[in-house]
């Protein structure tokens, strides 16, 4: 167990509604989410002295702080690599608290990802520069490999080839997510479950990905508040302790297109994260009572289960088909509906669901959840958490 494990706890969560057109600025969404999370923690904006968000976020810390009535900030930090940043924002906050750099850290993410700049449209026509990040797209966009769905489809095809997985194996992830979303009033797809047949009949986006393998696009904001575990004990909600928080980037890492490694059917960066989670927390996969696995596209849920040690390599399709991800299964997963069903909030809504699971307040609460693993974006340098109940 490391010095990080158990040092910090999530004391509050807050979000806007999840929609396709928020009708307000991204900054307003960020402020609303932050204020809601601070209120949920039983604190005021003046208590906050640290802020963490994504490099992809347009809402700089100073704008959020000024508009919400925060005063002095002693810590502000940002994480790169798209949705891979989600759980790393909590890691940043936990480290700041563990080292005494900050006392109350809010992690946030807000965007008009559906009504504004849609990631799903891809990189083909984005602004040009000659930095290394933009130049990396030179190896793909001239060939028409432009969008996240297409990038993931390349991995998915190889995974199918090596392990015998099928489109239906991916579809089972979508069916589970949508089943959970169907009973979550906050979810975009509330009341709208799907069948495997509907998944199979949905149109191709990028073979082997059907439409229903792809997450939605969302306008909204989500924030979480971190304090020390001791202080959390004095706040209104039961503390949700950060038992482990890890980042990971693998050898020969690229953004969504690490196609040059000897094997492209795994997610080595999630392996890097997983090994740290278990080492930090002293826990293992069998100690997890639930999971929130990043699901921008269904196929990469499978190698996550493998990299984290819930099943052997290539065996995730069996693990899923056996019903383990359902509410009555061994590892209830994406109980909020995931990003396919609830909202695409770049993984931050998954952290909030992890908190609710430990609090026992998920709309799809499976049973007592002492520990839950939450992951961030796949195919990119990523991060994950183990959240647990105070002992």
């Amino acid at each position: 167990m490391s010095g990080l494990s158990g040092a910090a706890a999530v004391a509050g969560i807050g979000a806007t509604e999840f929609s396709k057109e928020s009708g307000r600025s991204e900054l307003q969404l960020a402020c609303e989410a932050v204020l809601a999370a601070v209120a949920d923690a039983g604190l005021t904006p003046a208590d906050v002295d640290g802020l963490v968000t994504f490099t992809a976020d347009t809402n700089s810390e100073i704008h959020v702080a000024r508009n919400t009535g925060m005063g002095d900030l002693s810590f502000f930090s940002r994480i790169g690599y798209g949705g891979g940043a989600a759980c790393a924002t909590v890691q940043q906050g936990a480290m700041a608290i563990a080292t005494g750099v900050a006392d109350v850290v809010v992690c946030y993410r807000a965007f008009n990802e559906r009504s504004g700049e849609r990631y799903g449209l891809g990189q083909a026509d984005r602004a040009m520069d000659i930095g290394a990040d933009r130049a990396a797209y030179s190896w793909m966009t001239p060939y028409g490999l432009n969008t996240p769905a297409q990038w993931v489809a390349m991995f998915a095809r190889r995974y199918m080839h090596e392990y015998g997985a099928t489109s239906e194996d991916f579809g089972r992830v979508a069916v589970i997510d949508r089943a959970h979303a169907a009973t979550n009033p906050a979810a975009w797809f509330y009341g709208r479950p799907i069948t495997l047949a509907e998944h199979q009949a949905s149109r191709w986006i990028a073979e082997p990905l059907h439409l229903l393998d792809c997450c939605q696009e969302t306008d909204g904001g989500q924030a979480v508040v971190l304090v020390s575990a001791e202080r959390a004990a004095d706040l209104p909600h039961p503390p949700v302790v950060v038992r482990a928080a890890a980042q990971g980037s693998g050898a020969d890492q690229h953004m969504m297109t690490s196609y040059y490694r000897p094997s492209i059917s795994g997610l080595p960066e999630m392996g890097v994260v997983g090994r740290q989670l278990w080492a930090q927390s002293g826990l293992g996969p069998s100690d997890m009572d639930a999971a929130v696995l990043y699901d921008h596209f269904t196929p990469l849920v499978l190698p996550q289960l493998e990299e984290l040690g819930f099943c052997g390599r290539g065996e995730a399709r069996h693990f899923i088909a056996e019903g383990n991800l359902a509410l009555d299964g061994a590892l209830p997963t994406n109980t909020h509906g995931g990003q396919l069903g609830e909202a695409y909030l770049h993984g931050m809504n998954g952290i909030a669901e992890g908190v609710r699971l430990v609090r026992g307040t998920s709309v799809n609460q499976p049973k007592r959840v002492d520990n839950v693993v939450v992951t961030a974006g796949t195919g990119v340098p990523t991060s994950a958490l183990v959240l647990g109940a105070a002992q």
């Binding site: 990396a136 793909m140 001239p142 028409g144 490999l145 390349m154 073979e207």
Partner: protein, 325 residues
């Protein structure tokens, strides 16, 4: 019957491609002398217009100080000495040259618009006042029909040879035009493929691609191949690098068939593959000459070239003959 017509006839008079290709090697413009010999007044006008400040072009003393016997013409003025002048360009001379025949044949194919795309000069010696320059032009190649950002067209490459009064070659120029169908006539021009972001680390690769060479970056110290390229060898840390030219053989490592969203530069369904080359590196590419449903992991493929537009040529791959369809 001209030599061109004879050769086209042998391949079938109704075969447009053969009639075009019959021009290969034909002298389009016979040796033609410039109106005036190389002279200092024209040099002075030219360097003023171009902003060229090197005194060796106009100042006798400055030129002699460099070991020359007097002023020399700027090298790239070679073209200027043989220009026909304004009057000739608006009132073409009587008579029909092979150049006119080719222009008519291209117009027959709908390629009525023209834009210059490349000019590569090789200079044998400097021109000095008094030199009498002449030029001849020979057709080197006519490309297959290409889709470009301007429209569907063909790249027409000629070689112009510049000679002095003694008949010695003073310069050669490889000259490339895109002859294309203007918008609204024939197929609409389509959007350009997304531009690569060219920087100091990747320019060599796209430059080589324009010459239809698929290169792989190689560490000059330890020989490790790498793609995508980068500034440092991850194996040994060396900053020195060169390239090897790929043999152009490989196999499909994975692939996708894109349907949505549709980018206007591409036809859908669009097959994008990761191909593993026999050299061991992989690259993202398009597969051509095969139906999407025929593509499979492991499919042996061979290099082909796509001239997407005058600025962008890309390596693509097709099934090895006899594999796929």
């Amino acid at each position: 019957m001209t030599a061109v017509e004879e050769r086209a006839g042998a391949a079938g008079a109704d075969d447009y491609e053969a009639r075009l290709q019959a021009f290969t090697g034909v002298e389009l413009v016979p040796q033609r002398r410039g109106s005036d010999p190389v002279n200092v007044p024209m040099i002075r006008h030219w360097v003023e217009a171009m902003g060229e400040t090197d005194p060796v072009h106009t100042d006798d003393d400055a030129a002699r100080a460099t070991g020359r016997s007097g002023p020399v013409a700027p090298a790239s003025m070679a073209q200027a000495w043989v220009m026909r002048g304004y009057a000739a360009s608006v009132a073409p001379a009587a008579g029909h040259s092979p150049f006119d025949d080719l222009a008519e044949l291209l117009a027959e194919g709908g390629y009525t618009s023209v834009v210059a795309t490349d000019s590569e000069f090789t200079f044998a010696r400097e021109l000095v006042p008094g030199d009498e320059v002449s030029v001849s032009e020979v057709l080197e190649s006519i490309s297959p029909e290409k889709r470009t950002g301007l429209g569907v067209g063909r790249f027409v490459t000629t070689v112009k040879t510049y000679r002095d009064a003694a008949g010695e070659v003073v310069a050669t120029q490889r000259w490339r035009l895109l002859r294309f169908r203007p918008p609204g006539r024939g197929p609409e021009p389509r959007a350009l493929r997304p531009r690569p972001a060219i920087n100091r680390d990747n320019a060599f690769w796209f430059d080589a691609a324009r010459e239809h060479r698929l290169v792989i970056q190689r560490c000059a110290a330890c020989g490790t191949l790498r793609h995508p390229p980068g500034p440092v060898c991850a194996a040994c840390g060396s900053l020195e690098q060169d390239t090897v030219e790929a043999a152009g053989r490989g196999a499909v490592h994975s692939f996708v068939v894109n349907h949505h969203p549709k980018h206007p530069a591409f036809d859908y369904p669009l097959v994008v593959a990761v191909v593993e080359l026999t050299e061991g590196t992989r690259l993202i590419t398009n597969l051509v000459g095969i139906a999407p449903e025929e593509v499979a992991i492991g499919l042996p493929v061979v290099l082909d070239w796509l001239d997407a537009d005058p600025e962008l040529s890309l390596p693509v791959f097709r099934p090895v003959a006899g594999k796929g369809t």
